[in-house]
Structure formats: C-alpha cells, structure tokens
C-alpha cells in the first residue's frame, strides 16, 4: 500500500510531473536545436517542482511509479499528447499562465506550499514568457503557423475549465478571480498574436469528473505504462 498524505501538494505535484514527462518526450525531436535546450529547461524545472511537491505527500518514487491511473490527480490538460509544436505551445500557454497565477497566490500565503511556490513562481514566469513569445510568433508568422496555432488553441480549450475547479486544501484561493485574471492575460496575448480566443465550453460534458478526481483521458494510460514499466518490473529494487 502506498502512503499518501492528503495535501494539495499531490494534485499540483502531479501536474508538474506529467507535464514534465510530456516535455521530455520532445528530446531529440524539437524544431530547432535552441528549442531542444529551452524545452528541456522547462521540463527540468517542472520535474524539480514535482519532486518537492510529491515529497510533501509521500515518497516521490512510490507516488510516481506505483499509483494506478485513477489515483493520479493531475489536470487532463497536462497529459494531452504533444501533437505538433503549436499544440505543445498552446498547452504551455494555458497551463503556465494558470500555474503562475496560482503560485503567486500561494507564495503570498502561509501554507506549507508557500516556500516551494515562491521559488517556482520565478521559473514559471519564464515558462509563461516562453509560451507567449512562441504564441505571438506562430500566430503572427505564416499562414500555416497561424492555422496550426489557432487549431491547437481550439483543441485544448475544452481542457481549460478544469483548472479553475476548487482543489481540496486550497480553500483560500478565489478560483473565480484566478479564472478572470487568466482569461484577461490569455486574451491579451492571443490578441497580440492575431489569434482569437476560442469560444465554446471550457469543459467536456461528462459528470464523472476530470483529472482532479482521477478521471483521465485515453492517452494517459499509455503515458503511465511507459513511465512506470521499468520501475514496476523490479519490485523492491532501488535505482
């Protein structure tokens, strides 16, 4: 049995862990060498955050490698496959804008998450800047890049609503305020990038719940299969 402490560090740690994993998949596949370095930097920052956060909830490796899919509390957004570069940038834009706003709030508070959030918020500001710079260049680049970027934003839009659902243990967060600030920021960047903010629902129609309740999307099972396979093949071994 895995010991898991009930703490908001778990869902936030899972977000960082899974997004880091997805970004790590870019290694050796990035569109330009400079971007290999940039994406790996972001992945490393997130992995560092994940390790601190998961350690607040239990043993980092047990939590990462031995939980079942239904026990992961990350947002569905971060588990979405990389797709093309525009897709990855759209996911980065949506998530890092959210993460920065949330961590700013947590850093100012007095919870056990404050020290981590204070350090991470600087990293995340850089991730958000990276995503914004690319959103602007792809949106206002060529016809092809504009089309791809708009498509990516539209596709992922349905996963953004979940970010503003209350998280257990973070009762002090005003999620509606966070949502407004997020929308303002993203709208401004998309405007600058000559892109349009997607319309339509920010959530899929399904009462079963979403990532925070352990309900994930199909690609997530495959992600875990790959991530956990080696560790689980050698029960009790250390690495």
């Amino acid at each position: 049995m895995i010991n898991v402490t009930a703490t908001p560090a778990l869902p936030l740690g899972d977000d960082a862990l899974i997004l880091s994993h997805r970004l790590g998949e870019w290694a050796g596949h990035a569109p330009v060498l400079e971007e290999e370095v940039a994406l790996a930097n972001i992945a490393l920052d997130l992995l560092g955050q994940a390790r601190v956060l998961l350690s607040l909830a239990g043993d980092e490796d047990e939590l990462a490698y031995l939980r079942e899919e239904r026990q992961f509390r990350n947002l569905q957004l971060v588990e979405q496959p990389n797709g093309d570069f525009a897709h990855t940038i759209a996911r980065q834009l949506y998530f890092s804008t959210y993460q920065e706003l949330l961590f700013e709030h947590l850093a100012a508070g007095e919870s056990e998450l404050a020290p981590l959030a204070g350090k991470a918020v600087k990293e995340v500001a850089y991730h958000r800047d990276h995503a914004e710079q690319w959103t602007i260049r792809l949106g206002d680049g060529t016809d092809e890049s504009h089309t791809r970027m708009q498509r990516a934003l539209d596709t992922l839009w349905g996963f953004t609503g979940e970010m503003f659902e209350p998280v257990d243990g973070l009762e002090a967060v005003s999620w509606a305020t966070l949502h407004d600030a997020w929308t303002t920021r993203v709208t401004a960047i998309l405007g600058q990038a000559t892109l349009t903010i997607p319309e339509g629902p920010q959530r899929g129609a399904w009462t079963a719940g979403a990532g925070r309740q352990g309900i994930h999307t199909e690609p997530f099972g495959r992600l875990l299969a790959e991530m956990q396979h080696l560790h689980r093949s050698h029960p009790g071994a250390t690495w």
């Binding site: 330009v32 400079e34 370095v37 940039a38 930097n41 990276h130 710079q133 260049r137």
Partner: protein, 112 residues
C-alpha cells in the same frame, strides 16, 4: 588563391547562401557576476533579438554562469583585421612609460 576570412562568427556574411528559414547568427556576451565585464561566450541562432536573449539564457547560463547577457547580430561586429595587426597593436608595445612598473620609487615611499 586566397582563403576566405570571415570575422569571428559571421557565417551568414559572404559566400554562404542564406535561405529565408535560416535564422541569423548572434554573438553572446555574458557577465558572470556583478563587477565584471561582459565576456564573449559563443554564438547562437535566433529569429530576432528577443528570442536571441532567451536562447542565450538557456544555452549559456544553464549552470548559473551569468547575471546579465548581451546579444549582438554577428554581422554587426566590426573586427580589426589581422593584416593590420602590426599597425594597430605594435606601436603600443614600445611605450613602457604607460605602465607604472616603468618608474623607480625609493624604498620606504608608500601609497604610490
């Protein structure tokens, strides 16, 4: 037969063709800590100055090597030519009186 002599880092100038998708080359200078001047660290490619700065941060300060970065388009660097080396630098070589060690000061005289 002459050997092409590009300036340090200017691959885009002169004999190589640049395609529209090729990003220009930038020279990167890093200040490793406060109180020191920026030092040439290397070069990289970027579509514009903003991205060049970010790429430089990611590439040349991965191990906290810097507190400040300059990026300069490689084509904007004007360098002295090695052919002018003698006229540029040798005249300074025979003016030892510019250096403090040129002067003899009696023992016991301080703060000079």
């Amino acid at each position: 037969m002459t050997t092409p002599r590009p300036t340090e880092g200017t691959a885009t100038a002169g004999e190589t063709t640049t395609r529209p998708t090729d990003w220009p080359l930038w020279e990167v200078f890093v200040r490793s800590r406060r109180g020191l001047s920026h030092t040439h660290a290397g070069s990289l490619h970027a579509p514009d100055a903003e991205m060049a700065l970010r790429n430089a941060r990611d590439l040349y300060t991965r191990r906290s090597e810097g507190v400040s970065i300059w990026v300069v388009p490689s084509t904007q660097v004007t360098a002295s030519s090695p052919d002018e080396k003698d006229s540029f630098f040798e005249p300074a070589g025979d003016k030892p009186y510019r250096h403090p060690t040129f002067y003899e000061i009696p023992d016991g005289v301080h703060h000079l």
